[in-house]
Every structure is written in C-alpha cells, then in structure tokens.
Symmetry: C2
Subunit: 258 residues, 2 copies
C-alpha cells in the first residue's frame, strides 16, 4: 500500500486516462472502487492543477496540458532529447518503421523519443517514458553491453525475468549475447520482450565517445525478419551517426565495437 492513499488514487486516475481517454467520473469511481463523490473531488483537484480537463459540460475527463509543462521539464533535463527527436523523425521516414532513442536510467532502458512508423500510426505501442528491461530489449542490450563491468555484473546477478518464451533468462547466455553485441556493434531482440515484435538497436556516442543512448527500430517480426537485420542495421547506424554528429561525436576517436 502506498504512503498517501489519496495521492495514490490521483496518480491512478492519471494512468487510467493515459491508457483510455476520455473517462467519466462514474467510470473512474468504478475502476478505483471509490464513491462517485470521492472521484469527483479527486478530479476537481487534478483539474485545478491542469492535470486533467473536462470535455464539454457533462463529463468526460481527459488528461490536461499541465502535464506537457511538467514533461517539458523532464525532457529539458535530458540533453539529447531535442536532437534525438529530429533524428527519429528522419529515420522513421527512411526505415518506414517505428524508431526510438533510449537512455540508461536506474537499471532500465528508458525511451526518451519515439517516432511511429507510417504503417503503425494509431496502433503503435507508446514507449516514451517506459522503463524497459535491459536483458530483453535491443536498446537494453546495447546500453548494458557498453556499460561498466560492475553494472553488467549487477544485472547478471539478478533474476532475469522471462517476458516471452524467447527471453534470455540464463546469465551465461546473456553474457555471450552481450559479448556478441560488443563484437558486432548492434543488438537484436527477437520476440524477447513482446510476442511477435522484433527490434534492432545500435549505440549512440557522445562527445567523449562514451555510449550515451541507443537508437532502435521496432516492428512486427514478419516485417523485420532476421534475414533483413543487416540492411536495417546499416540504416540505423546512419541515423545514429546523424545524432552523434549533432552531439559532437567524431567517428574514429576511441571507437569500440562496430
């Protein structure tokens, strides 16, 4: 149980509305299992802070623009998000699939920018802000492979959760996989985090040459079979190179892996 129940409920309301919008006060009271008057007061407080807003006169509620203000403060903190978005847009146009940039944060791969491929508009999963497991995603494998040995040991020592039948759950297998990632300079996830979804990722280096992000593409397995990995990797490398040049990275200086 959370520390402050009413704040917990308010946060749950925001999560409900991000998944499904709009929702009525009554529907929210049913899902939170509280009285309609409780839901109404929670919504009124969130609305006062612009975190939700009411469509029209009678219900229903949706998320408010105040969240954009708060989120802007988050992306402002991540230096590369501004450049990354532009490069995602360009890469999504050339790859014609969903493209993401993720950073390593508190033991997870966190997507900070995403451009949905034309074929996936309206149906693509939202990854921005999502904490993805390092062992089961292409971006996670890239970020982990290029991390200090201590970080890698920490992940390998923890239980490796299975998300699908294909998820790597053996520390030995993961160790070999990370070595292969370093060797060839890219990572793949073949239905390892989500059934039927494949992904490829390459590293993005910062001004000093350290890996600061991973650049990836995601698609249904039938559109991203292993036979096409090489060509997609080349496109990803080109896109990542665009971002790296914006970040001030000079290729050939202390390059490792690919």
């Amino acid at each position: 149980m959370s520390e402050v129940q009413s704040v917990d409920r308010a946060a749950q309301i925001l999560q409900l509305l991000s998944a499904e919008s709009p929702l009525s006060v009554s529907e929210i009271s049913r899902r939170l299992q509280v009285h309609r008057s409780t839901a109404s007061r929670l919504m009124a407080t969130l609305e006062a802070h612009d975190l939700v807003e009411q469509e029209g006169q009678r219900g229903a509620y949706r998320l408010g623009f105040g969240l954009l203000r708060l989120a802007s403060a988050v992306t402002a903190r991540v230096d590369l998000s501004r450049d990354a978005q532009a490069c995602c847009d360009a890469a999504a146009a050339s790859l014609n699939e969903t493209v993401n940039v993720a950073i390593l944060d508190a033991g997870y791969a966190v997507t900070i920018t995403q451009t949905v491929g034309q074929r996936m508009i309206g149906v693509a999963r939202q990854y921005v802000g999502q904490r993805a497991p390092l062992h089961a995603t292409s971006t996670g494998k890239v970020l982990l492979a290029c991390s200090p040995a201590a970080e890698q040991d920490r992940v390998l020592a923890a239980p490796l959760e299975a998300f699908t039948a294909s998820t790597i759950t053996s520390p030995e297998v993961l160790t070999a996989e990370l070595a292969a990632v370093r060797e060839r300079g890219w990572a793949s996830a073949v239905a390892e985090w989500e059934e039927g979804i494949n992904a490829l990722a390459v590293p993005v280096r910062g001004p000093q040459g350290a890996v600061v992000a991973a650049f990836s593409t995601t698609a249904p397995a039938f559109r991203l079979p292993e036979s096409t990995f090489a060509e997609h990797v080349e496109m990803l490398r080109e896109a990542a190179g665009q971002l790296e040049s914006r970040l001030g990275y000079l290729p050939g200086v202390r390059a490792s892996g690919g």
Copy 2:
C-alpha cells in the same frame, strides 16, 4: 482551497520540481509548510508512480519519466503536434529565435510545441502546456480573430486583464485589432503579455481550410522591433506553409485574410 488537500500538495510538488530541480525533502517541506515526514511520504507516493525520482541515495528529488508517459498521451491526442515539432525546429533554425505552435483550447492559446532559438537556450521561458490569454498574445489574437463571432463576443464581453502597461484592455480597441489581424493575416504582441518581449504569429490551416493553430516567434523587443515585422512574418508564413502542407491544406482553397 482545493478539494483534496494532499493531492493539491502533491501537484504543488510537481510544479516546484518543474521550476527548479532537484529539490530535497526538507526544502519541499519548507516551501509547502508541512512537516518533513509529510513531505517524505508525499514524495514516496509520487515516486511509486514514477512521477518523481531520487537522484543518488540521499535526496534530492527530480521529476520522473512517468510524466513523459502521461504527456505522450496528451500530445498523441493533439493530431498536429508531431508535424508541428519538426516545423518548429526548422523555423527556429532559419529565424534564429524561439518558435511556437499554439492551439485554441477552452478560451486560451495553449502552446503544444516549442523550439527555443539558439540564442535563448537555457534562458528561454517554457511555453509548452502554458495557457496564454487570447487578447494579450500574438497566437491568441490569431486564434481569436479566426474564431466564430460567438467566441469573439465571449472574450470581448469578459474583463480584459492587463498584464503590462501595453496590454489591450478596451473591447473596442481589441475589436479593431482583430479586424486588422484578419485583414493582414498576422498578429503581433508588443510587450503586451510580458515586458520587453515581442511576438508575431500567423494562422495555420487544416485540410478544410479552417484555422487550427497559430505559428509564432518570440524574442526580446530589441531583436524583434516593429521595423522587422514584415520580414519575420514572411518567414513565419513560409514555416506555417510547411506545416499546412503536411496537414493537407491546399493554399488558394477558401483562403481568408492574408
């Protein structure tokens, strides 16, 4: 006073952290005027929902990536935000000033995308998610001038708040100003919302030719004097045209004003 005090406090914490980051539990307790244990519990609940996160072991707190997830749901709802960001980036590069795209929402001009000009990085005011008054901003004047007469009458009937000595507060003067905006196809705000800050805006039309957004540039008055308005308007029209073509608007079809 808000309806649910502890939710109100939690929302205030998020606002404090968006303005200044990171902040310690003790500092937050001082600013909210609550006990340190209260602040600690509020932070713990926000942290459980990824709305804040702790840097390192000992304080301090900053906003969390969970806000990006929520904000993504907001921008996903605003159809034109994806295209608008790319056009803002391009326009900011050519204008070399801050550029914004705003939509009309609940009687306000709400900025949905912003690219900060190179000269303003680090110091520019954050407009994204901000509700700007229609009578005192360039985007607001564009959006209001191109609104149905009923919406214009509603704004003109309400008290026109003065934000600076230059703000238009007379309904007659504002009516004439809106007619001029429609006539020439652009609006200006000369230190009307913020002292020393000038702004210019042009309309952005959707597929059916209706005005769906305003495209603006903002700069200190000395860099955007009235003598340079004409050239800046041309650049804005070009940028807005880029966005309009992405949105499917064909110039010459039912064009009104400029």
